[in-house]
Amino acid sequence: MTISLGALLGATASLALSGAAMAQTTITVATVNNGDMVRMQGLMDDFNAKHPDIKVEWVTLEENVLRQNVTTDIATGGGQYDVITIGTYEVPIWGKQGWLESLNDLPADYDVDDLLPAIRGGLTVDGTLYASPFYGESSMVMYRTDLMEAAGMTMPEAPTWADIEKAAAAMTNKDAGIYGVCLRGKAGWGENTAFITAMSNSFGARWFDENWVPQFDQPEWKATIDFYLNLMNNYGPPGASNNGFNENLTLFQQGKCGMWIDATVAASFVTNPKDSTVADKVGFALAPDNGLGKRGNWLWAWSLAIPASSDAKDAAKTFINWATNKDYLALVASKEGWANVPPGTRTSLYENPEYQKVPFAKMTLESINSADPNNPTVKPVPYVGVQFVAIPEFQGIGTTVGEIFSAALAGQKTADQALAEAQAVVTEEMKASGYIQ
């Protein structure tokens, strides 16, 4: 059999051309397992139709495992991930270290000025946006309207800690298994340390002074821990030192808590009649304060970023623009309703009359706006972060301090002992890391 040279060349050329037309860039997206992220994976048909040249593969991991894997990969330049899901704690640290790609050149339709200023500030280092927020959250008070009514009380829209204590006392009915207040007690820098640090801001406390000297020996911290322990010991559920977000969510959904002060994202869970027995009896208020100008709420945003080691940065940017654009919010609303749109990232969402009808929308926005990661405390501090200190050492010391406070809540040590121990541990670490002499 003979084949002419021309036919062979023609066939080769057409094969090459069809190959080029089908060439796909594959990007690997590392993410956490939460409702908004799962929903996005279900809406990938829209992305695939708009960008057939990009194939997206997902790696979903538990938060701490994801953090460990991504840190290892970026630090070693592994290049396994093209888009990573990180929080407001990592962005300032990793951005400074040059681990993340700048997102300042996203297309005009991304509309960077539409991002909520507090969230944008937390993801920007020296004028460079290093991550695009997928959803943002703060913390607020969720309370049982029926129990408040039965106690003849009204929750102010912006309560003080004294209001919270009074309401907790009125709602507690231990015989009926109802506890006035549920707060985080489980040890961990992202668990009880996050809550207590945000709370301490409203008591005028701070982790470090301007010279990085630990401040746990100051009266503001004493007031914070005394109040927290008294509140929980008198009106909290038994075994509270083991309760984190998910445990308190369960307690609240089963009608065991009068109040729960935690992430704004919980609002959609506790008002979901499928899982919550108190779905139609939940009210919302701003996180408490003590009249010092700072409230006890935090700021967090799960955000999408591109590791510097990625070899598909353009495709990764295209994906990030799709996932965090205003159009994506409209896409979710059209498929699943406005209540399921990822909250807390864009001003335009909160100006949308349809979204304003969502019961927790207003309180979420006000909570986010009242947190300032660049100016988190009453007194000046050298760090960024509301419920954390954005330094690499914080994961370690934050968890150790969390363990100490959790032990105090379990009754294994007094408030004074806990604070003295925290001061000693943090001072030692800060000396070892060279922040102080």
Partner: protein, 276 residues
């Protein structure tokens, strides 16, 4: 001859055995039950059993959200591959240690075992860098090598124990009959040690199947096995216990079935040489 037990004593022994077995199996049983409950029912306090809302929804959702067959196939390749490769290396090593021991054989065995005492995370960064340079990240062959190396001390130790039970004279007789080293190991030693080799193989498949550190650290999408599949259903915020239980049940089911059918072999192998 086994000692005869009085009926009363037999009843007590049986009850004790059942109690211990149920205690050990209870977490798995509870996980399987939880996988058929709704999320609200799964976390209800006090725990619900008869009053729970039963559903198959979790399995449907887990199946829809993940490419289970791909994770399953990766688990099979990694667990079986690492075990076979391990046996290939360990059989000659254990033969040498059992039948031609040197002065330092005992020390060598202890040293091999001591590597199991090192926390895996201590070598995470060096190993990650080696994998990256060799292009082995997120590859099944990479994981086969790592898990083989990780389980090799156990394989060698188990085989060494079994081989020690085989009289050296039989091998000597084979040699005198003109058998080469290859024939001695393949045609004489291996058939005699087959029950031991089989139980070593089964135990190592189970260990490799359940490994959840390296299989999560060194993979992303292509080579991720069932351990990564389970990890993807744990959530920092929100209720996930029922779905996580369904994913776990789907991940352990194949190995549970394997263990069920091979339990006689496993017990026989594990107790081999225990009583002399």
């Amino acid at each position: 001859m086994a000692r005869a037990l009085s009926p009363r004593r037999q009843l007590v022994t049986t009850l004790a055995a059942w109690t211990v077995a149920l205690l050990i199996f209870f977490p798995v049983l509870w996980m399987i039950l939880t996988s058929f409950k709704t999320e609200a029912s799964a976390v209800a306090m006090p725990p619900q059993f008869l009053s729970a809302d039963w559903t198959l929804e979790n399995y449907a959702e887990v199946w829809a959200r993940s490419d289970y067959p791909r994770f399953f196939w990766n688990s099979v390749v990694i667990a079986v591959g690492s075990t076979l490769l391990g046996l290939l290396v360990a059989i000659p090593s254990a033969w040498a240690m059992a039948f031609v021991p040197g002065q330092r054989t005992r020390d060598l065995l202890m040293w091999m075992l001591s590597t199991k005492m090192m926390p895996a995370v201590a070598v995470m960064v060096p190993l990650y860098l080696i994998f990256q340079r060799l292009g082995l990240l997120d590859s099944r062959i990479g994981l086969v090598i790592v898990l083989m190396l990780m389980n090799l001390p156990i394989i060698v130790w188990m085989l060494y124990t079994y081989f020690k039970e085989i009289p050296g004279e039989i091998l000597e007789a084979a040699r005198m009959d003109g058998a080469s080293l290859w024939n001695e190991i393949v045609h004489v030693l291996t058939p005699m040690a087959l029950p031991g080799i089989a139980s070593t193989m089964l135990l190592n498949i189970i260990l490799a199947w359940n490994e959840a550190f390296w299989t999560i650290v060194l993979t992303t999408t292509k080579a991720a096995p069932l351990s990564a599949f389970i990890a993807s259903f744990s959530a920092p915020q929100g209720l996930f216990y029922a779905k996580l239980s369904a994913a776990s049940a789907m991940a352990i089911l194949p190995i549970l079935i394997l263990g069920w059918f091979s339990q006689k072999q496993l017990v026989r192998g594990l107790t081999f040489g225990a009583v002399k």
